[in-house]
């Protein structure tokens, strides 16, 4: 049977050996991390953003690289998923973007500070995290089961292909909605429909009424009232005009030749 001395040797020896291995691996990691994390891209803005991230304990609700609390969303890929314009508007007034939902502290950051935070998150999003966060393995299967009802009308004229005006980006629309194949990452499965064929479902006036105050038309909608936050009244009209202009049947003859509705 083991003596006390042998047990002591097992403890001290084992600890020394494994701590030694751990130290060697730590040194190796320390040397490799700068390459894996693109440390050359850590600008002063990224560092300033990191300080803001820490001094406000953002980790106390959010997770970053999967680390933090679990009260608010994981932010590693947030710049890629939502877009910088969306984030700028969101950070200025978080409650406005998610009315009646879980609250974020309203920080009075300057525009420069917001840019720093976004620069930091953008750098984080490009770090090689060994595959994290994984693509949801069941997402495709779920989408194959059918798109949410009322999201896409499958028949009707095929929308025109046109360049997307800047207002859709600055107005944060493409944070949730897909337009001409762009954006839509954040809204894919919460029922934010692609907007290319919205003319099939709504008239110009209905679109204006909807954007001006979504909750008035549909009280349980997840779409925030963006007028006064991300867009102006004039821009609402600009958006509505552009969306109905995608209808090939009412498009001006000078527009690109409208392809005929193709049978599916």
């Amino acid at each position: 049977m083991l003596t006390k001395l042998q047990a002591k040797v097992f403890f001290l020896g084992g600890t020394a050996v494994f701590f030694g291995i751990f130290l060697v691996l730590t040194i190796d990691t320390h040397l490799k991390v700068p390459f894996q994390t693109n440390a050359k891209d850590i600008t002063s803005a990224v560092i300033a953003g990191k300080r803001i991230w820490e001094s406000n304990n953002c980790m106390g609700c959010h997770t970053l690289f999967g680390e933090g609390a679990y009260y608010a969303p994981e932010l590693t890929k947030v710049v890629e998923n939502r877009g910088k314009d969306w984030l700028k508007v969101f950070i200025k007034n978080p409650a406005a973007m998610f009315p009646g939902q879980r609250k974020m502290v309203h920080y009075n950051f300057t525009d420069e500070q917001i840019d720093h935070v976004i620069a930091f998150l953008e750098w984080c999003g490009r770090v090689d995290l060994n595959g994290f966060p994984a693509e949801p393995p069941l997402r495709d299967a779920l989408q194959a089961m059918g798109t949410p009802t009322g999201v896409v009308a499958s028949n009707g004229p095929t929308p025109l292909q046109k360049p997307v005006p800047a207002v859709f980006t600055t107005g944060t629309c493409i944070g949730c909605h897909q337009i001409q194949g762009q954006g839509g990452a954040a809204g894919a499965l919460i029922g934010a429909p692609p907007l290319d064929d919205v003319f099939r479902r709504k008239t110009r006036d209905q679109i204006i009424e909807w954007i001006s105050d979504p909750a008035k038309v549909k009280p349980d909608t997840k779409m925030p009232k963006l007028v006064g936050i991300a867009i102006t009244d004039a821009q609402v009209i600009e958006i509505a005009d552009w969306l109905v202009s995608l209808n090939p049947e009412t498009a001006a003859p000078t527009a690109a030749p409208a392809p005929a509705a193709q049978p599916k």
Partner: protein, 455 residues
């Protein structure tokens, strides 16, 4: 109580109890926020409540460890504490620093690094404080009449815990390196040197409560803490899978953290077999319950539930979800909260001379808090697994998923009420013991526990 200076332990324990209550209160604030009742958001937003909740945990556990050391070390070294007054200064200054930190969190004054939120200037005060503590018990051991394995392991654990606090104070511009060294503190504390402290306390309690020969108990202590470091040091790798560290950590972290439950299993078997060997002859049933309970619950919470999501293939989807909260709650409760409560239950009758060690309140305290914690862990588990499936595997939106799992937090709050009732009963029993007295040394409390040694 053999030495007058051991009385200081009482005040460390009393402070720990106070902070434990406060910790639970902040836990309730978060639980209610999760079911939409966030009326306190303007004053105590979630990140404040969260930082207070986890920091109070760390502070009260450390107070418990320090109190335990101030009780055990004089006895093991067979002499009075080196500087009893310094222990008082150390307790009060530790509390002052803690209170400043906690209050600061309500005014956005913190470092914002998970578990190490204490702002940098206060970090230095913590270091000075802990140095004073280590010097005090270190010199007591050095000048003592005897050296015991229990005292040495306990001291080594506390010293290593202090040293490992330092890597967390290095500044990095790179978030990955920041996180990498933050885990040196957090992981090597809770899955490394704190287990040493826990092992030493467990060892001390088993010697006292079962009457098994010291040589036998201490021999196995070495084996247990040996297993802890064998698996736990490289097991740190399970925090390095997905933070931007090299890929080899997936393999190393996976293998060694999968071995970590063995150390906890060893601890549980160790405690149970010693209790069986010695028989349950000691009158302090409450202390024995908490001691064995700690060994078992730490295996379930830290070992088994930790293993449940430590493999990289699983962790890819559970990393950063409520599954972590499930594991965390029972692990801390079983391993560190219960061992402290065991020490307190054992020490109080000795310090005060009152034999309140086997009554209804102490028994209900044990069972209600444990059943409550098991139920809380269950609620976190259901919420966490649902979150993993909906958000990580199906790709649903974060907030939409949170809405779906809200109901499980109603369950969590109900379970937490049961848990809190148990804690309140424990503290009621604490209060009934009254204050430590000089006469306690002459009382027959110790005589009652002089068990014939079993080898």
């Amino acid at each position: 109580m053999k030495f007058q200076s051991q009385k200081i332990a009482y005040w460390f324990f009393a402070a720990a109890m106070l902070l434990l209550v406060l910790q639970v209160v902040y836990g309730f604030i978060m639980g209610f926020a999760r079911i939409g009742m966030d009326g306190l958001h303007g004053w105590i937003p979630f990140n404040t409540a969260r930082a207070v909740h986890t920091n109070l945990l760390v502070v009260w556990l450390l107070l418990g460890f320090m109190g335990s050391a101030y009780f055990i070390i004089p006895e093991e070294a067979d002499r009075e504490l080196m500087w009893p007054k310094l222990a008082w200064v150390q307790l009060i200054s530790f509390l002052v620093v803690g209170v400043i930190a906690i209050v600061g969190y309500h005014f956005n004054y913190w470092e914002g690094r998970k578990f190490l939120e204490i702002p940098r200037p206060l970090d230095y005060l913590v270091v000075i404080n802990v140095l004073a503590f280590l010097a005090n018990i270190g010199l007591t051991i050095w000048n003592g009449k005897r050296y015991t394995t229990t005292a040495i392991v306990l001291y080594f654990g506390l010293l290593a815990a202090a040293l490992l606090y330092l890597p967390g104070m290095i500044d990095f511009d790179n978030q990955t390196l920041d996180s990498f060294y933050r885990w040196w503190v957090v992981h090597l504390w809770v899955e490394g040197v704190w287990e040493l402290i826990m092992g030493a306390l467990l060892c001390y309690l088993l010697i006292k409560l079962t009457g098994v020969d010291r040589e036998v108990v201490e021999k196995w202590l070495y084996i247990i803490v040996g297993l802890t470091f064998l698996s736990g040091i490289l097991g740190t790798g399970h925090h390095y899978y997905y933070i931007g560290a090299p890929r080899y950590w997936l393999m190393i972290g996976g293998i060694f953290s999968a071995l970590e439950p063995l150390a906890f299993l060893g601890m549980a078997i160790y405690a149970l077999s010693m209790a069986k060997k010695g028989g349950r002859r000691h009158p302090n049933k409450a202390a024995l319950n908490w001691t064995l309970g700690s060994a078992i619950m730490s295996f379930v919470g830290a070992g088994f539930l930790g293993f449940a999501h430590t493999l990289p293939q699983v962790n890819m989807y559970t990393h950063g979800t409520l599954v972590t909260a499930m594991h965390g709650h029972m692990a801390f409760w079983g391993a560190y909260a219960m061992i402290n409560l065991a020490m307190i239950a054992y020490v109080l009758p000795i310090l005060t001379g009152r034999k309140l060690w086997d009554n209804a309140a102490s028994s209900y305290a044990f069972w209600l808090s444990n059943i409550g914690m098991v139920a809380m862990t269950g609620a976190f588990a259901v919420a966490g697994i649902t979150q993993v499936n909906l958000e990580r595997r199906m790709g649903l939106d974060f907030l939409a998923v949170q809405k779906e799992i809200e109901i499980h937090f109603v369950g969590l709050i109900l379970a937490a009420c049961l848990f809190f009732l148990g804690i309140c009963l424990y503290i009621y029993n604490f209060w009934r013991h009254g204050l430590p007295t000089d006469e306690a040394a002459q009382s027959d409390v110790r005589a009652a526990e002089d068990l014939p040694t079993v080898s």
